[in-house]
């Protein structure tokens, strides 16, 4: 197997709840455990989706993978090099390869920059193209993402949400990256616009061999564009595998709950829905043992007592599908979903 493009090992990112000196002095500072020990590989050319509820640490993990966040512990290696160990100049050079497209297309563009300047800025910062070259490259990029070169003179307020999203994509593509994190690329868009952006993402993968991480909460979107899926809960990965493996039994109980909650656009759809109680517990004080045990539909007596979260158990021969639940087979027995 070829070496992964990016590899996170034991990645941890904690944020303090209060930054002030007084809070520190009085010991009032607590830590939000946004990412709490994640091992993940991203292979060249694949689209990996990261799913989970709000507040589970998806975006933080995405940012840490391209070193927009300094990890609290653990490493992210890009082509074998630890990103945290690189000098500022080296890191800047790496950023050409590692891009991030932010959630909320309208808010992530500067309202005072024209589309041409917004895309051109990326070219200038990385010294890719200047002058007439730059303009030509901007026009090319706009066409790649399905806009017209004439859009270069427009301001973000003159564009629709879908068009703004395309500009954000063009900006990320400007430096010809090998890896892009898409943070909720379609969550703010109408279905018709969403479909065209999803098609664009597939085209980019086919055309440029782009490797990507898609952060999303909509599982039907994930199924459409991803090769592999990582399911995250309270800072930890609970299931990793190909889309086919993760979206069919055996499931981690959390994955199963998420899947069963997706409303199908089919009035005759019948299924056993599991409705999870409550919301995700606070990441400052996560439950002991398996973090999901407080909401798990098939919780067992000892789930709250593990000292360490068990390593995801590989459930297929190739080691491609991993489920961090020792009782995943019980889920099949209790719910009637077919087990392995």
């Amino acid at each position: 197997m070829t070496a992964p493009l990016l590899r996170a090992e034991g990645l941890v990112k904690h944020y303090p709840t209060e930054e002030s000196f007084l809070a520190r002095l009085l010991g009032r500072r607590r830590w939000v455990r946004a990412v709490d020990g994640v091992d993940l590989e991203i292979r060249a050319g694949e689209t990996l989706a990261l799913v989970g509820e709000s507040g589970c640490g998806k975006s933080t993990l995405g940012r840490a993978l391209v070193h927009l966040e300094e990890p609290t512990a653990g490493t992210v290696r890009h082509r074998g090099d630890d990103l945290a160990a690189l000098s500022a100049a080296e890191l800047r050079e790496r950023r050409r390869d590692l891009q991030y497209v932010f959630q909320n297309p309208t808010a992530s563009l500067d309202p005072r920059l024209t589309v041409g300047d917004a895309v051109g800025e990326a070219l200038a910062v990385h010294g890719v193209a200047t002058g007439a070259d730059r303009d030509r490259r901007v026009a090319e990029l706009l066409e790649t993402v399905g806009l017209r070169p004439s859009h270069a003179g427009r301001y973000p307020r003159e564009l629709s949400g879908g068009q703004c999203q395309r500009v954000g994509i063009a900006r990320a593509l400007a430096v010809d990256p090998e890896f892009v994190v898409w943070d909720e690329p379609v969550s703010a868009l109408d279905v018709s616009v969403q479909a065209s952006i999803l098609n664009l993402l597939s085209d980019l993968k086919a055309e440029f061999g782009l490797t990507s991480l898609v952060v999303a909460h909509d599982l039907s979107v994930v199924q459409q564009i991803a090769d592999r899926v990582a399911v995250m809960y309270l800072g930890e990965l609970v299931e990793v595998g190909t889309v086919e493996a993760v979206f069919s039994p055996p499931y981690h109980p959390y994955t199963w709950s998420l899947l069963s909650a997706v409303p199908e656009p089919d009035p005759r759809w019948e299924r056993d829905r599991v409705v999870l109680d409550g919301a995700v517990p606070s990441a400052t004080d996560p439950p002991s043992g398996c973090k999901f045990h407080t909401r798990c539909p098939v919780v067992q007596d000892d789930c709250g007592e593990w000292d360490d979260h068990p390593d995801p158990a590989a459930v297929d021969d190739a080691g491609e599908h991993a489920i961090a639940c020792p009782y995943y087979n019980r889920l099949a027995d209790e719910t009637g979903t077919e087990g392995a």
Binding site: E53, S54, S160, G161, G162, D190, V191, S192, V193, Q194, A195, S196, L198, N199, S202, H217, D218, L219, S220, V221, Q223, Q224, F247, S257, L258, L259, A261, V262, P263, E264, P265, D266, P267, R268, W269, R273, V275, L276, G278, A279
Partner: protein, 338 residues
Amino acid sequence: MALLEVENLDVRFYTEGGVVRAVDGLSYTLGCGERLGVVGESGAGKTVAALAVLDLLDPPGRIEGGSIRFDGEELLDATPERLRRIRGGEVGVVFQDPETALNPVYTVGEQVAEAVRVHTDREGDAAHDRAVDLLDRVGIPDPATRASQYPHEFSGGMAQRVVVAIALAGDPALLIADEPTTGLDVTIQAQLLDLLDDLAADDLAVQLISHDLGVVAEFCDRVLVMYAGQAVERAPVDDLFYHPKHPYTAGLLSAVPRIGDDRDRLATLPGTTPDLASPPPGCRFHPRCPYAEDACTKRDPPLAAVDGDDAHRAACLAYLDDADFDGDLDFYVEGGEP
């Protein structure tokens, strides 16, 4: 008699860019305990139509014509005082984004109690007790304690339950819910849909506005599809999803990604919704319609019964006998019987 009857509703916004006909000749009815879904892209007029029913339109928006009858009473002739009684009383409202709907400086219990005082004759402790009951009704655990907390102490899903509790304060017959689950996680969305389901089972009529066809398929009895300020299709939910008759509905349905779907590419609707200050002539959907013919640019089709079925109506020349439309709408739904 239907609970809510909207007929030929016209809403216009007088802007510098011209007169925007945000809702144009919209008619629909909603019976007691019925669940109507209103779907369409952003800017289709879904929310404006709901605001018009509640007389919540702000200038430059104005109702220019039509009729809105609630329980037989014409709302367009009602006094402001009477409308204040109806709004939040007999007609409850839930908007998207609970965080902005709640006032951050009052306790949650006080905000529910306020609605109780305005819409019932309960005062003081009786109003507070009723507020706690309502919080309990919408599934908030430990309602007595939670009532004394502030909105920032509530998660998005719990805050939306509080908004539903406020909407229930006047014991409404109709609940208008505008994108009530948008922005919430699927797990929390499932909890809220369960709650709405439970309320509707108690004979509460619900007008659910959503862009999520999955939510509509699951929750609603009937669906109204809006495009560019007009109703383009109206049908029982099963017919709409299995036998869509309007090309726009078919386009929307095919653009939705589904789990278990093995298509490589999603179908897309070309183009964007028209500028309603100067909508295209004829059928407003014709510039984006794959079946458009010359006749479509000339005549704006009314919402007409399809194949004699009065419950299933579509606004397309293909269903008008006297129209000059020769083509065939050859879309179908996989898995639906022909």
